[in-house]
Symmetry: C2
Subunit: 394 residues, 2 copies
Amino acid sequence: MKKRISFTKKNKSLIIWVFFIALPYFVQAQRRASNIISPEVLSDNSVVFKVKAPNAKSVQVAGTWSKGYKPNEMIKKDSVFEVKVGPLPSDMYEYDIVIDGIPMLDPLNTMVTRDGAWIQNRLMVPGGLADIIDVKSVPHGDLKSVWYDSPTIGTQQRRMFIYTPPNYDKNNKKYPVLYLLHGGGGDEEVWLSRGRANYILDNLIAAGKAEPMIVVITNGNAVTPAAPLDRPAAMQNKVPSGIGSMAAGTFEKSLIKDVIPYVESNYRVIPDANHRAITGFSMGGYQTQNITNANPAMFKYIGVMSMGLFSTFRNDGSYKKEEHIKQLEELQRNNPKVYWIGIGNDDFLYKSVVEMRKLYDEIGFKYTYRENEGNHDWNSWRLYLSEFAPLLFK
Amino acid sequence: MKKRISFTKKNKSLIIWVFFIALPYFVQAQRRASNIISPEVLSDNSVVFKVKAPNAKSVQVAGTWSKGYKPNEMIKKDSVFEVKVGPLPSDMYEYDIVIDGIPMLDPLNTMVTRDGAWIQNRLMVPGGLADIIDVKSVPHGDLKSVWYDSPTIGTQQRRMFIYTPPNYDKNNKKYPVLYLLHGGGGDEEVWLSRGRANYILDNLIAAGKAEPMIVVITNGNAVTPAAPLDRPAAMQNKVPSGIGSMAAGTFEKSLIKDVIPYVESNYRVIPDANHRAITGFSMGGYQTQNITNANPAMFKYIGVMSMGLFSTFRNDGSYKKEEHIKQLEELQRNNPKVYWIGIGNDDFLYKSVVEMRKLYDEIGFKYTYRENEGNHDWNSWRLYLSEFAPLLFK
């Protein structure tokens, strides 16, 4: 940059102009390393990654297209490392660049998502599932981050997101509500950042595939009131204790006692079981089971994603099978319209779902089962939301 | 990690449990590189940075505490690079880690902000100005991302954020509105991500220093409807053309014709000049001048941050001084209650503000002038908002 611009009096005003307006673009251009475009999705949906790293010995790209996040080695040509991956199925993927063993963001890609401590780049491979995940030229619902009192958890206000469907502000209709829960390590931002829940709903509603609905996206960690940048700096390094938080069941109680009353008194909703749905993945799938087992008359639509019988892996003697069966029988008597179970055939919790289905089958508890080619990851959860939401409120 | 866990049948359920719940924490722990805490703010407000990078030759930290973003060299002790910076004045700072010449995020810090193509880590040094920027235990306003029609710009819906003050939903009061504009390279997220506008307002309102107000945060780039992750993937690499976008004045027109009518018909606002304020920095300071010069009866509170006379550096013959003076005289006749100018003494646009003040003084145009020890950066803009907001609607 310095070599290209000579600081003579003649072009001083130009220089100031260039720095003022164009500085961000220069930086971006520098990051873009002289006209390199990366990642580049080719017509066959293979993807070329390029990283300019003259001094590096090894550069890899590690992405969610690979089982187990196995890195792809990049090959050095002059000072640019390059690799072609795929062709990949149409979907959204996350990835890191790894230079000499250190994971980092792709310097050429400003699309960055966050899932707890995972800060990664985003890649979209169009033409199929990605079309339901992408931002399309359809009416968009609004999204509000609200702070609500949660006496069940503590004195501090807690933060959640509330999606209202397109036209919510242009009529007086009352709407059904979907409560959407995240997994261990995540927070209230992850169904948006990585899960793209609002755009999935926009696209499903625009296509007439899903009913217009309100979506409530909570923070399921009782020990943190909000995502990292939205809590006091002194809580910067506070990470939710998954086990403690889950075992206590505090979040589950607060959803019933604090969240639902807030939503039903601040939004135009139809406050009955026929118009309440709940789903979550992983930790959120466990919380979904806890909430619906303990409150069998609350929700007529229930989705359990990537989570089966907790006792399959926490066999500490606390599991009371008889009580669980009684709860399920009571839930069955309340006749849920949809009880949906989704699991990837390669998910490490697959067996826990086998055990759960075995129990449900034994007692004649009805459910819909969906098994995808997939893992315990966001590719599954976005897919599940795109399939679960169309089943609701019909 | 592998060494610590032996995969015997006996502890298989424990292992599954650990992977399921604790995987994100393991990853975080790995990133945290065995109990290293970094950055660490010491009691004298100096800050210690540590980076574990066994194979690196050079590690630096470059942050906004330094004029010109000059990097601090880190010194290797065993496999950990370390440096102490400061003591620093209490404030919020952004920084990169630079390993062997490649800028990247700090692997130990999950606090990440974005300003256009700048994705950086956040550091808070408490005890002074940071207290007005941080998330405090005070009532929080809600924040809504809304999509509005903007026929002035195009057919695509555009996105903006609307902050409503605490208790907005609990009464029927009507509120004044502040329109908040960003600089070149930024978008509608940057006054939140880097600017912390909602928390600054929360804290000022809680302290009784600012009137409760609605704050509208727009995307000032006519060519992009929203921030990167909130526009179609096909527009991923679209960067706003600062010069073209600014010269056309399209955004300015859309603020008057599309944004303000949307806000005034969808929110409980007092729709008169006494209850409208506008401010912006850099490009947004230019837009603020354009908007208020062309619409002298619209706003009684005007703030121009880090931007002076455009003609000082764009001397292309298009500047019509006589017209400009006529506009300013008309604006003066409308008697704005506050016309506030802020500039850092080290800002590269300092001279443009000297020229603007000279012109204003010549014609007797009244303004309040604030010069801080500072630069063309977020440390100035957060400071300005914390000083400008308390002047409004009193």
